[in-house]
């Protein structure tokens, strides 16, 4: 069974998904970060493939991608890095996130098979159109038992959400508001209404809320309305600030997960 499906079967709430950009801050950071996040029992690790023109990402993630490319990151190397660290990861499911053009240039068949071979459990490709996935790749994903997460936003109509639910496998990526990553700090009433509306649709796939989740408070709030949440930009900032990568990761994850009581005293 796909590791993601298994995860959501065994754990119904407070699922923590952390994003980082491969090859940042250093070219060989990928393995260290994966290992440390896994030791911290992060449920899902989303590995970003750095891209020159990341339209759906904000300035923090774009800058980390630019640095990673400057460091010399490329897809063959990334697959090697994942391949060598994967067997030592005990806990986490792995997601690969990137842009469709990267997949097209690598060769989609080769790319998805490579994902499977190195132990990737699911993909997020925000600019891959639904109908193109359905007609070109769905059969291959089924054959490889790879997960795929499509995005929904507060503007996505219910009929389209149902279609997205039908095609997603693993979880649905619920964009907290129509904004690029890292752009906002608080959860507002409009977002809460949206979370409630989605819950009422009784979808087959679990949901993770992403965009603007940066700390314990926003994580906890998101977890009230979905099975968990995704943190990206805030983690990249923590990596940038960390004197010691491992300790920085430990502290970040600990702070996200502190109980409400402890959070109040922080």
């Amino acid at each position: 069974m796909n590791k993601l499906i298994e995860l959501f079967k065994n754990k119904e709430r407070d699922i923590l998904n952390i994003y980082f950009t491969a090859g940042y801050p250093k070219l060989d950071s990928t393995g260290h970060i994966l290992k440390r996040l896994d030791q911290n029992k992060v449920d899902i690790i989303e590995i970003g493939m750095p891209y020159s023109d990341p339209l759906a990402d904000g300035p923090t993630i774009q800058a980390s991608g630019a640095k990673a490319l400057e460091n010399g990151m490329h897809l063959d190397l990334l697959f090697q890095q994942i391949d060598s660290i994967r067997p030592s990861l005990k806990h986490a499911s792995l997601i690969l996130m990137g842009y469709y053009n990267q997949v097209l240039q690598f060769g989609p068949q080769k790319f998805f098979r490579q994902c499977k071979a190195v132990g990737i459990d699911g993909l997020i490709l925000p600019d891959l159109p639904l109908h193109e996935y359905e007609s070109e790749y769905k059969d291959l994903f089924d054959e490889l038992d790879l997960g795929i997460s499509f995005l929904i936003t507060p503007q996505t109509p219910d009929t389209r959400i149902k279609k997205i639910d039908k095609l997603s496998k693993g979880f649905i990526y619920m964009v907290s508001s129509a904004s690029i990553t890292g752009a906002q700090k608080e959860v507002n009433d409009i977002q809460l209404d949206y979370y409630k509306r989605i819950n009422a649709l009784e979808l087959n796939n679990p949901r993770l809320i992403g965009f603007g989740i940066s700390d314990n408070k926003s994580f906890k709030t998101a977890c009230q309305y979905a099975q968990g949440a995704i943190i990206g930009s805030a983690f990249i900032r923590a990596l940038s600030d960390a004197q010691n990568l491992e300790l920085g990761i430990d502290n970040f994850v600990k702070n996200i997960r502190v109980s409400d009581l402890e959070a109040k005293s922080i």
């Binding site: 020159s52 800058a63 053009n101």
Partner: protein
């Protein structure tokens, strides 16, 4: 004509295998809203009446089709210039912004964003926003802001905010990225006026339709002046390709008319400092559409180079990718220096200072073989006022 060779867009926004809408879900609502209404709106008599009347009385259309006698003599053929440089704001760009601002109003949008390279599209957008009283934000690469100072000043005077794009190459590609991001962040009140036949469907088709007034006029102007409503050649410069799309539009399915696309070779196609997408590009996705673009084998988009800010773009409109790959259009690459020399030549022979972008089209005349009797239309897409600094430097070096 063979039926399957007909050039047209399909319902998913593809010209052959190029086009489509490769966009994150956050843009889906906006793009879908536009897709559902644009064709219907464009064809209503109310819209057409407003659009036509602004093109006539505000832009100053029809733009003349001018027989360039001395230039024709030099190249031993019949050369006509489609004078888009005489439009209000100095280029073809205003045809599209007039159309799109009316579309934005129809959609009830109150805030307008745009990207710009040379600043012509930014000025044309700031102009129509002033005309219609809408808020206007123009994204422009930090480097372009420096090399196109007069247009920056014009935009500001027109009341627009010019927001520097500081990521990546700090030119047109990144200004476009920033504009798209802004649209993602402002999904309800904002319309994005794209300046070329690029971006996700329906933009390439919509912009081509607004620019098609160029070839629509060419038809009757040629009929009047030459006695037939088609030329043998239409020559236009191509960055994203909106002036070329407009000049070709009504002749796309008339194979006797040869379509010529002229790209910026920068320092030379082989030098690594170039923007000749049809030669250096491969199939991929940029700014939401599948087309030819300059990229590494890993799909990272390569920063192009051209002295001309308007042609300094790593992609090409999907319609052009299709025209070029199917053989319907032929292409030439013109270096910075060839374009500068052609600008000077046109100025001295005809008393017209062209935009550096348009000068690329003129530089291709040397590279082609025409018959005496051939009727050539060169789309003179813009005037050269904005490029005077560049031209002065060139003159000082060569005279």
């Amino acid at each position: 004509m063979v039926k399957n060779k007909t050039i047209r867009i399909d319902k998913h926004g593809f010209y052959g295998k190029f086009g489509g809408a490769y966009i994150p879900e956050m843009l889906f609502g906006n793009v879908e809203e536009l897709r559902l209404c644009y064709n219907e709106v464009i064809n209503t008599s109310e819209f057409q009446m407003k659009f036509r009347s602004l093109l006539k009385d505000y832009v100053g259309r029809p733009s003349p089709l001018y027989f360039a006698e001395r230039l024709s003599e030099k190249y031993k053929t019949q050369i006509y210039l489609k004078r888009e440089d005489l439009n209000h704001t100095g280029a073809h760009k205003i045809n599209n912004t007039i159309g799109q601002i009316l579309m934005a109003k129809h959609l009830g949008k109150t805030r307008i964003i745009a990207e710009t390279g040379a600043g012509q599209h930014g000025v044309a957008t700031a102009t129509v926003c002033a005309l219609q009283g809408l808020e206007c934000i123009v994204f422009m690469g930090e480097i372009d802001i420096k090399r196109q100072a007069p247009n920056v000043a014009r935009m500001k005077m027109l009341g627009a905010e010019v927001r520097p794009a500081t990521s990546g190459s700090k030119t047109l590609k990144d200004a476009t990225n920033e504009a798209i991001r802004d649209w993602i962040n402002n999904p309800s009140d904002t319309h994005y006026i794209i300046g070329s036949v690029v971006g996700p469907h329906p933009y390439p088709d919509m912009v081509a339709q607004f620019q098609s007034v160029i070839s629509e006029e060419m038809k009757w102007q040629l009929q009047e002046q030459v006695g037939r409503d088609y030329p043998d050649y239409i020559i236009a410069c191509v960055g994203g390709g909106s002036n070329a799309a407009g000049a070709y539009y009504h002749y796309l399915n008339e194979p006797t008319v040869k379509l010529v696309a002229v790209e910026a070779a920068g320092l030379g196609v082989e030098t690594g400092e170039s923007a000749a997408t049809s030669v250096l590009g491969t199939e991929g996705i940029i700014h939401g559409s599948k087309t030819l673009l300059m990229q590494t084998k890993d799909g990272q988009i390569i920063e192009p180079y051209s002295l001309s800010a308007g042609l300094d773009y790593p992609g090409i409109g999907p319609m052009h990718a299709h025209l070029i790959q199917s053989g319907r259009a032929s292409t030439y690459s013109v270096t910075d220096n060839e374009a500068l020399a052609a600008a000077l030549e046109l100025t001295r022979l005809e008393g017209i200072i062209p935009a550096l972008e348009s000068a690329h089209a003129f530089a291709s005349l040397k590279k082609q073989n025409f018959r005496d009797s051939d009727v050539i239309v060169v789309n003179l897409s813009g005037r050269g006022d904005k490029d005077l600094d560049t031209y002065t430097k060139f003159l000082n070096k060569h005279e």
